[in-house]
Symmetry: C2
Subunit: 243 residues, 2 copies
Amino acid sequence: MLITSLTNDKVKNLVKLQTKKYRDEERKFLVEGDHLVSEAYKTNNLIEIFAVEDVLVTFADIPVTYVTKEVMKKISEQTSSTNIIGVCKYINNKIDENKNIVLLDSIQDPGNLGTIIRSAVAFNFDIVLGDNSVDIYNSKTIRSTEGMIFNVNFIKSNLIDFINNHNDYKYLIADMNNGTDIKNYNKTNKVAIIMGNEGNGISESIRNLDIDYIYIKQSSKCESLNVGVAASILMHELGDINE
Amino acid sequence: MLITSLTNDKVKNLVKLQTKKYRDEERKFLVEGDHLVSEAYKTNNLIEIFAVEDVLVTFADIPVTYVTKEVMKKISEQTSSTNIIGVCKYINNKIDENKNIVLLDSIQDPGNLGTIIRSAVAFNFDIVLGDNSVDIYNSKTIRSTEGMIFNVNFIKSNLIDFINNHNDYKYLIADMNNGTDIKNYNKTNKVAIIMGNEGNGISESIRNLDIDYIYIKQSSKCESLNVGVAASILMHELGDINE
């Protein structure tokens, strides 16, 4: 089947999946390009494929619809040309209670969230996404994960509720210079690292809880590290990789 | 002075500064927004200011030209509205030979370069930018540095030439899994960490030199870390911050 019309109903529905509201209703999201479609396939998250007419698609059992270049351009959210788009199902909301976790308090930049997801998989952390964070299925977030969106465990939760209901983690607030230098921190329990918003840091309501602070020692010339970098360094320092 | 015309010569010249060719000829580049303009001023790199007519600008001794919102939109490279743009002089090409350094081999993404610059300032590293790397004065690079472009020391050089002419560093190739786990690495000298291209890693010609490898231990589920994250973790592990 080849779709040539920009007003085809399937095309309209794909364009709607660019919005969070429609994604949440359908519990589906889009990924672009060979690498992400292939990762979606390997992890059984791929439902359907849309490809430019001259592209050979070889994922067994997944329905393929061919479209013209013009139609693909309309579906795609990227400026450079995409040849293949996968429709994926939402990932199950769960975390492994034996693992370390990162709590994200109002992370706003999709690239930063994607970077944190990629590093979380690398260092074996699960993720708790706080109420005011950017959407995990945002196309920029997904691109920045480099496919690790399909390998991460995450849940969405109000962070204060989560902390009150889970007392078996050692909670740690990542700060600029308060608390313990991460290089001197002595880990004795599974940890929950709390990372704050890019501009405003950690919410007052979380700061008011009785939680220890850790910091990454850095030059006074630098105001702060990128939050994705800071989270990654802390996960590197505190992670358990037993493979 | 208020510029209202989109075809004003000053406006044309500012738009030309969006291209590397013209930046290199003029040895000037643009920064957008209060924070970056203020960082440029503090470090004596600010030559001239262009601001929207209703903005109050208070940098002593720096000439200000006011423009209409339409003119500002033409000069700006960002989608969101900018109120102030600074014209800055190129930063001196130099490194401090007593410090640790990072060698960047064909880094392509401006955001990654900006992140590495920001972390380099945080962990007290200077930067050697190899031949095929993205332009350091690219507007996306500059935004990602969060103003640290004005605090970093860097030079541009062919990396093989640099390595051949500087034998007092301990060179280390950052690899996926060859060599020494960075957590077990015993540093005895100032280091030069070599980071590779996002897709292709380190060039064959550098790999052929007799250089040690280091890696960041990570889960087999993750193909690789973001190069900005990996560079930052290695600088965090190997940096000397004596303040």
